[in-house]
Amino acid sequence: MRTLDPQSLTQHVDRLYRAAWALCGSREDAEDLVQETFARVLSRPRVLHGDDDLYYLMRVLRNTFLTSLRTASRRPVTGAALEDVVAADPKPTSRPEQAFEVQELYATIAELPEAFRLALVAVDVLGLSYREAARALRVREATLTTRVFRARNQVAARLTPDAPRDSEIEREEKNAGGVLSSGGTP
């Protein structure tokens, strides 16, 4: 058992930002999500039970993300006036040629069903092990493995122009229907 050292958290900002970007599909929303995640973590002393900082951050990021989704669904519909058009950071990566690709990739991930999105982000974007990711997302490891596999397939299919994407994706989502609603069975 140890108390989380707030100073150690700053080293994870970039990784958490990438995870938030892939979850939200937008850099501006990702910034808000990261700030809200850190505000939650720092709101009181945290005692970790032998867990890695990054695992703990993913858990809080997931909870904050799901809360923000629920809050967003309750917001009043105000039409185009509420469009969130904020100037984006012109230098999101160290390699400018990568910027477009990153935006495209993360936007595609953000279109996945919520459970698949979280699984892919925890493992492939944040770099958690399957075991850590399963615990952070509160699902069985087998469930997590299935979700990551399906999420990767769906992203690859959506990024391939000549693939039979829609029907395949619809079938995948239909097959995953029980998984997404129960949150605990593969």
Partner: protein
């Protein structure tokens, strides 16, 4: 579609692992400021064994802070205190002057302003301004504009004159467009508190959800950025 985009699962994994996108400097600065604010002063080695006890004490102190929820005048004396409850009470009082009109030069604002900070024009969002009042609390002028929607719900939007704005504790912080909004609940009403150009703003309405208040409160900031 980029030629570089991955077509297979293995390419996708490889590409995702290779992304080194860095968070904006502004975000780094904000997080570092939050961490600095929350990092306790250096303890003596003997104090380390008391960390769990200290954690419990700090958590208890945080709970007390939430219950106290007070605004303390920045730089002012302790006798000059403006409480959230006082500001909230103003948003429930009747208007004393007529409704302000829309700013003819800026369709997102009303003509009434405090220290250059204008009240928002929300009619196209379904909230019509109905009146204004001005009060003095703890040596500060608080101007409140009232709005109603089609269902008869009423919102009071108060701007506290004078900078620096009083500090606010308690509640939950929610970020929108880089601005922290503090969500509180007092006397059965949701309250959203934040700063605009260094001025404290308070918006509340009986029976109005925090999500609606937050959405309205953050709308103008975002719109101002893009207009």
């Amino acid at each position: 579609m980029s030629e570089r985009l991955p077509k297979t699962e293995s390419e996708l994994i490889e590409r995702l692992h290779a992304i080194d996108a860095r968070a904006p400097e502004e975000l780094h600065r904000k997080i570092e400021a939050m961490v600095a604010e929350r990092t306790p002063a250096r303890r003596s080695p003997g104090a380390i064994r008391w960390q769990p006890v200290a954690a419990v004490a700090l958590a208890a102190a945080a709970v007390v802070a939430v219950l106290v929820i007070s605004l303390v005048g920045g730089g002012g004396s302790s006798s000059q205190r403006l409480t959230v409850r006082q500001a909230l009470a103003l948003t429930r009082l009747p208007a004393t002057t007529a409704a302000p009109t829309e700013n003819p030069h800026n369709g997102t604002q009303l003509e009434t302003a405090v220290g250059g900070v204008a009240f928002p024009y929300w009619e196209h969002l379904g909230w019509r301004s109905t009146g204004t009042r001005s009060d003095q609390i703890s040596g500060r002028t608080v101007t409140t504009v009232f709005y109603v929607n089609g269902r008869g719900q009423r919102i009071g939007y108060a701007i506290v004159a004078g900078t620096p704005a009083p500090a606010v504790d308690g509640g939950v912080v929610s970020w929108r467009g880089g601005t922290p909004y503090r969500l509180l609940k007092r006397d059965g009403s949701h309250v959203v508190v934040w700063q605009r150009n260094g001025h404290l703003c308070v918006v509340s309405g009986h029976g109005v959800s925090s999500a609606t208040l937050l959405s309205l409160a953050s709308w103008q900031e975002r719109h101002t950025l893009t207009s």
